[in-house]
Subunit: 209 residues, 2 copies
DNA sequence: TTTTATTATCACCTTTTGGTGATAAGTGTT
DNA sequence: AACACTTATCACCAAAAGGTGATAATAAAA
């Protein structure tokens, strides 16, 4: 009953489990959610499907485990012990939104996860959405709520619109060929317009307080 | 070779076709896109699947026809012969965005279509996206572009963020139980915050010109 | 080396799904 | 009534998909 075979050995439970998880990601990125069939996952993983049942319990449990590995947000909050910014978080907000705009655009796997959360009411996806909320709450409560005072909800609503808009526009850019409001969201020009609008709107919101 | 049997007759091609189209909508709204299986569509329609092949050619063609019936946007542009508003479209923009926010929230079928456009690269869905663009272009070119002049693209980018944000938030509200940026998008309070933010941001954008 | 436990594959089964030819049941015409 | 035409159902097939017991191959322990 040994637990840690050498890395190069032919038989390795941990490595096989990872191959199944990787296969899920690859299928989602290439074929889409509808491609997550038992036989196809096993084929992409290069292993027998029986192992999937042995190691995870079944396809659903494998997918849940995959989702759990994709918690992109818990990493974000890392710098929570920074000193309180003097500008009430104005520059922090702008750079956070702009980096989200770029990050989601480049990270198709993240786009898929976001979409997935709007499609299926799978429990693990709800947990992920909740994790995003918890992560964001830390920032709101520590930085922007104190700064905006009784206007705190106004700022949250503005942020909600921006974040949601960023998500949608990035996903749209990756999947649709058409423009959006006449802007080419794939081009540098189009994206620059959006970035400037984000900066503009956040500035106006801070100016108004 | 009579073409129009009485409405109450047992055999009626037009009515049967409509039943298939309705079945597609019902399945999308209850089960989701993954539920669009040939046998299930026929079962929900209450007809034999063979008719689906006879009348539409197959499932894909049926679905395409369904999508074609869901062109929500061509109806919107109805009032294009209105006189040019003196405020550069400020109030028009606000009321349009606010009514979109409410309309999409209440119309789950529309949410599904929007989501679908981000998921599959089906040709009919691209056409729908293009139709939205064409419809919006009329408003931009007639009203807001002239008003904003060399800032026209700035306004378009702001609108893009708002519209995209509205879509995402409404879909999120219908599918996720969690809050978004701490706001309960299902509640009147939460939605009021968003509405006020929309009004605020559009006003600031017009004020800045 | 033999033994034991783990890792992996294989063959096989059942259910689901997509698809179609043959045929029945209405509908209107002559 | 006999006829032709349209509408609808049925029985059936093939392929795809999910799922599992038996068994082989490997690695570690005895």
């Amino acid at each position: 009953m040994e637990e840690k075979p050498e890395a190069g050995s032919q038989r390795n439970k941990a490595r096989s489990k990872q191959r199944f998880l990787d296969a899920v990601g690859e299928i989602i990125n290439t074929v889409g959610f509808s491609g997550l069939k038992v036989n196809d996952i096993a084929r992409v993983a290069g292993l027998d499907k029986k192992l999937m049942y042995n190691y995870f319990g079944g396809r659903d449990e494998l997918i849940d485990e995959y989702i759990r590995t994709k918690d992109f947000w818990t990493n974000v909050k890392g710098d929570s012990e920074n000193p309180l910014p003097k500008d009430g978080g104005r520059e922090f907000s702008k750079s956070m939104l702009l980096s989200q705009f770029e990050y989601v655009f480049k990270n198709e796997e993240m786009q898929k996860i976001l979409l997935w959360g709007l499609l299926e009411d799978r429990n693990e996806l709800k947990k992920l959405a909740q994790a995003r909320e918890d992560s964001g709450a830390l920032i709101f409560e520590a930085i922007t709520d104190p700064h905006f005072g009784d206007q705190a909800k106004r700022y949250r609503a503005v942020t909600a619109l921006m974040v949601a808009g960023i998500y949608y526009l990035d996903i749209y850019a990756s999947t649709q060929t058409a423009t959006f409001c006449g802007l080419d969201l794939k081009s540098n020009e189009g994206r620059k317009e959006i970035e400037e609008a984000i900066t503009f709107l956040i500035d106006k919101t801070y100016d108004d307080r």
